[in-house]
Amino acid sequence: MTDIDRSEPDGHERPGDAPPPASDESAVPARWEHAAALFLRWREGETRAMDELVRLMTPVLWHVVRAYGLDRALAEDVVQTTWLTLVRRHETIQDPRAVSGWLTMCARREAWRVGKLQRRADPTEVEHLEPHLPTHESAEQTAGVEDEKRQLWNSVERLDDRCQRLLRIIAFDDRPDYARIAQDLAMPVGSIGPTRQRCLGKLRTLLEGDGWRRDSDED
């Protein structure tokens, strides 16, 4: 079973493999389904479909790569390398439905590789993300919502690095294998992966200790 619990890509996951067929139950296509459709259109000669694919997936790749602790400039390089690798090596993706998983896996491998080099070069520099909430104000973003975000971030920051990385990758990486595995096992997507559950559990404990309303994450 493919699992994202391992913080480092280690070759057990095979992005080129065929993912399971899409679930046709949901009305709004999942992002990976949208990505697959765009990739297919590009392969069939519609060059502009690639631009849409880049727009769709770049934000995901950014957060996946940053989860590895790369500085922002290096993270940009890794995202770009990932895209150029897709253009150069897209023939190796046998099933276009695998494209989003292929992209995130490629980004994770490259981030891991580059991250090791960065840590070797500069072992002392640890970037600390300063929460700069709120970044923008709107009618929806009431003070309550901002408080909630701040509270959530405070708890996330108290998790160990591995849990932070894992949760961030999972939060942004919706991949077909998760959806399908869950469907096949009649098990909710969220139940897959003991490490993931352990990290989520820790986060919830921290949140509850902080007075987080248990029902507020169920709406």
Binding site: G45, T47, M50, D51, V54, R55, T58, P59, W62, H63, R66, R72, E76, V79, Q80, W83, L84, L86, V87, R88, L129, E130, P131, H132, L133, P134, T135, E148, K149, L152, W153, V156, L167, R168, I170, A171, F172, M187, P188, V189, G190, S191, L200, L203, R204, D217, E218, D219
Partner: protein
């Protein structure tokens, strides 16, 4: 694990996404730059061809080690100033009359990505002598992206 737990996990992940998007936002222009980088890399794409308008090749044949080339498709113009450096490699200073998103000089076996400056300026360093073509992705004033390439020329 119950369905309610699944819903709770999904909701919590959605909130986590929102927090990371706030705390560590993607650079505002990253998507545009990635679109351009991919466009320039994508050989299946159809590039509008810029043709050579003017070449000051006399300079190359003279003792001064510079050349100036101008390419255009009637709307977009690219100006290149090529200088031979002391180490025998070349520096290319360029300017395009649109907002440059990605510029590359592609030779048979290698390619060079230009450093982009303000106002359509770009520069390539360490280019060895040989034939190649410039491939660039620009954005016009209306925000439309265009991909161009020049015919092959000799540096």
């Amino acid at each position: 694990m119950k369905t309610e737990d699944f819903a709770a996990d999904a909701a919590l992940f959605a909130r986590l996404r929102a927090v990371w998007e706030d705390v560590d936002p993607m650079p505002a222009d990253l998507v545009d730059r990635m679109v351009a980088a991919v466009a320039v890399e994508d050989l299946s794409r159809e590039y509008a061809l810029l043709t050579l308008v003017e070449a000051d090749l006399a300079a190359v044949r003279s003792d001064s080690d510079t050349a100036t080339l101008q390419f255009s498709d009637g709307t977009t113009t690219v100006l290149l100033h090529i200088t031979q450096m002391e180490d025998g490699q070349h520096r290319v200073d360029g300017w395009v009359d649109a907002s440059a998103l990605d510029v590359r000089f592609v030779q048979a076996s290698r390619e060079f990505t230009a450093e982009l400056g303000d106002h359509g300026r770009f520069a390539l360093e360490g280019v060895p002598a040989g034939v190649g073509r410039l491939r660039l992705s620009v954005r016009d004033e209306a925000g439309e992206q265009h991909d161009f390439q020049t015919p092959q020329f000799e540096v």
